[in-house]
């Protein structure tokens, strides 16, 4: 058990004038689950990194664990005191397999060699992933990787568990399992859990007071205000009302014949026929690791597939790469992958030069930037933006390119509710004006209602449109 006390913490990034955290004071009680939310770029990740000791503190005593600053705790005991689970599942491992990563963590804690195998099995069993023990980490799906990350934290027996948007790319069932495990850790093992998230669905039964981080200050909401915030995420609001089954009159733009997908030896999609329809917005949902992103990679010729894929009747392998890339574009799940330049302004200039500059006039771009709250970041290095800001910048860059078919892989990842609504307005109006075909993968359904017209579900290695029969 450990209480985390933060006292007059001010933090400014180098070469920046505005502090991200401004004279922050808060106490996270021991053995409790605390939920932290706030706008994208509001400093949630910064705060968690500071608590975890991954970013050096400006004043050593500002964050204390049961009264002791982390600097006073011997380095070997750090992982015992505080551990962190990251937003990006794949970037938190050093070793190749699940077992080796767990060994690595326990060796660091100087656990006796003979105790290690039992500790590994216990942790894997607690999370319910004993079957993953010998698997290669990079071949696991994002959800499985997050489960492994949790198992490692369990094995290390850390008192304070920090989670930075751990469910951003995770399907609802996996998210629920992980949440329940975290609750067990809180109530039975009295761990202090601090979790940052934008998507507030599923927390209502467990969280009394929501902590909101806004422009450097942290406010604890009252019980009523908290429930009000949660209400925006209840299943009612998440229903997609405009979804219909594809009609016979619709024309297919992308078509797969006996399309099959594999990851290594694992079958993801059993060979089947599949069509995406022009001018529609199709949402693809399905469990983590079921092959949604792999499908997108196949559609833009970045991955292998079985069968044939055609675009407007032509085999995509026979279309020149350059011209195909201009007609079918992908907004990658990781924003980093999309950017080619240094500053946001340079990225926008590139898109405007090669994209649809008749529609995206400088005035329109300026206006869109303003709507997305990115105006004052124009000259900033793009990699120093927060993950939510990067996501918005990435979307804008791809929209300006205006490919006939735009694939969006988790376009709402890391966005707060207000940003989601703005993004959706922009997407809807641009789609209507330019007649684009949008295909998107999203675990997060809030805000999507006005946009989505077809819903494709991936279940048991098979893709099926909602409302359609075989």
């Amino acid at each position: 058990m450990a209480t985390v006390t933060i006292d007059s913490l001010t933090f400014t990034y180098p070469k920046r004038t505005h502090p991200v955290l401004d004279n922050l004071a808060v106490t996270f009680p021991a053995g409790k689950f605390s939920l932290l939310t706030g706008v994208s770029g509001g400093g949630k990740s910064t705060l968690l990194n500071l608590i975890a000791g991954l970013t050096p503190l400006p004043t050593p005593g500002a964050i204390r664990f049961d009264g002791h600053p982390l600097a006073e705790i011997p380095a070997a005991k750090h992982a015992n005191t505080v551990a962190m689970m990251f937003q990006e599942p794949s970037t938190q491992f050093t070793m190749d397999t699940v077992e080796n990563e767990l060994r690595f963590a326990l060796e660091n804690q100087r656990m006796t060699a003979t105790d290690i195998p039992a500790a590994i099995d216990d942790a894997l069993n607690f999370v319910g992933i004993a079957q993953l023990k010998h698997r290669i980490l990079m071949q696991l799906s994002g959800g499985e990787q997050q489960k492994v990350a949790l198992a490692i934290i369990v094995a290390m027996n850390s008192d304070v568990i920090l989670l930075d948007e751990p469910f951003a790319s995770i399907d609802p069932p996996t998210r629920l399992t992980l949440l329940q495990k975290l609750m067990t850790l809180c109530t039975q093992q009295h761990k202090t859990v601090i979790l940052a998230d934008h998507d507030l669905s599923g927390y209502a039964p467990w969280v009394d007071h929501l902590a909101v981080l806004d422009s450097g200050h942290l406010a604890l909401l009252s019980a009523e205000e908290t429930q009000e915030r949660f209400a925006a995420f209840t299943p009612d609001r998440l229903r997609l009302t405009r979804v219909t089954a594809p009609q016979a009159t619709e024309t297919a733009c992308l078509q797969g014949t006996q399309l099959g997908l594999f990851s290594g030896d694992r079958e993801l999609i059993h060979p089947q026929d599949l069509a995406f329809f022009a001018g529609q917005t199709t949402l693809i949902t399905g469990p983590n690791g079921s092959g949604k992103s792999t499908l997108f990679r196949a559609l833009v010729r970045l991955g292998h597939y079985q069968g044939t894929l055609t675009y407007q009747g032509r085999d995509i392998q026979k279309i020149a790469r350059k011209s195909y890339a201009r007609q079918v574009g992908l907004m990658f799940q990781s924003s980093m992958a999309q950017f080619l330049n240094v500053t946001l302004d340079e990225e926008l200039t590139l898109s405007q030069k090669n994209g649809n500059h008749a529609y995206f006039t400088p005035e329109r771009v300026t206006q869109l930037l303003d709507q997305l709250g990115l105006t004052q970041h124009r000259d900033q290095v793009i990699y120093s933006l927060s993950s939510g800001q990067q996501k918005k910048a990435q979307l804008l860059c791809m929209l300006i390119m205006a490919p006939q078919v735009l694939l969006l892989d988790e376009p709402l990842k890391g966005l707060d509710l207000a940003s989601i609504q703005t993004t959706m307005q922009i997407l809807t109006s641009v789609q209507q004006d330019l007649g684009l075909t949008l295909i998107l993968i999203s675990h997060q359904l809030s805000g999507l209602d006005g946009l989505v017209t077809h819903h494709l579900r991936l279940m048991d290695h098979h893709l099926l449109y909602e409302g359609a029969t075989e």
Partner: protein, 217 residues
């Protein structure tokens, strides 16, 4: 055989044959390496690569040296076989050693600071990711109307940027799993260094020395 000892043996022999010109020893080493690779069931395709690539370069080198006319045929044979020995010994080492075991052995037997040992391992694990990343970057550029060739500086700028980002993430990942620079660690798997390893190592060195003395003019 213990990975650290094996690495040391390979390096010492390679160093010795670099400064001596006995082609019979080179050929003997080649035969031994070949037998070892067969014994450890190295894939035929890999074996073929390990033979054809140095064959091309060694032939080119010998051909260009012979055109100069000043090199003796003895020297040419030595150069030709030496190149093969380097590649084959490297092949034996890499094909029979797991990177993780080498890391553990370097940490435990050679007392290398764990920072280096695990840094090396992590870099090794990243190699396949780099290839996918390059393909992704080129595709991303095409979608933005920009063609990145293999020789485009922008491609390398981006790869380096991504790699730097990975190294930051890796440092965070290691720290968050309790890794502390210079702190003592326990070892879940101990890499054995049995007596016979030393004997094999010693005998091999003695045999190479004898061969070299024998063969020196």
């Amino acid at each position: 055989m213990n990975p650290t000892l094996k690495l040391a043996l390979v390096l010492i022999i390679a160093l010795e044959i670099s400064f001596t010109q006995v082609w019979t020893v080179n050929v003997a080493l080649l035969v031994v390496c070949f037998i070892l690779m067969i014994a450890y069931r190295v894939k035929l395709k890999r074996l073929l690569w390990l033979t054809l690539v140095p064959l091309f370069f060694a032939t080119a080198l010998v051909w260009s040296l012979s055109l100069q006319g000043s090199a003796s045929s003895h020297f040419l044979i030595v150069i030709f076989t030496r190149m093969f020995v380097y590649v084959y010994m490297g092949g034996v080492f890499t094909q029979t050693t797991e990177p993780l075991m080498l890391t553990r052995s370097l940490e435990q037997n050679a007392k290398l600071p764990s920072k280096f040992a695990y840094g090396f391992l992590a870099a090794f694990n990243l190699l396949p990711k780099i290839r996918t990343e390059v393909a992704t970057i080129r595709a991303a550029a095409l979608m933005r109307g920009q063609v990145l060739h293999v020789w485009s500086p922008q491609l390398y700028f981006k790869v380096i940027l991504v790699a730097m980002n990975w190294s930051d993430q890796l440092a965070s990942a290691m720290a968050s799993h309790g890794f502390v620079e210079g702190a003592p660690r326990t070892h879940a798997v101990t890499v054995p260094l049995p007596k016979w390893n030393w004997w094999v190592c010693g005998m091999s060195l003695v045999a190479v020395q004898l061969g070299l003395f024998w063969g020196l003019p």
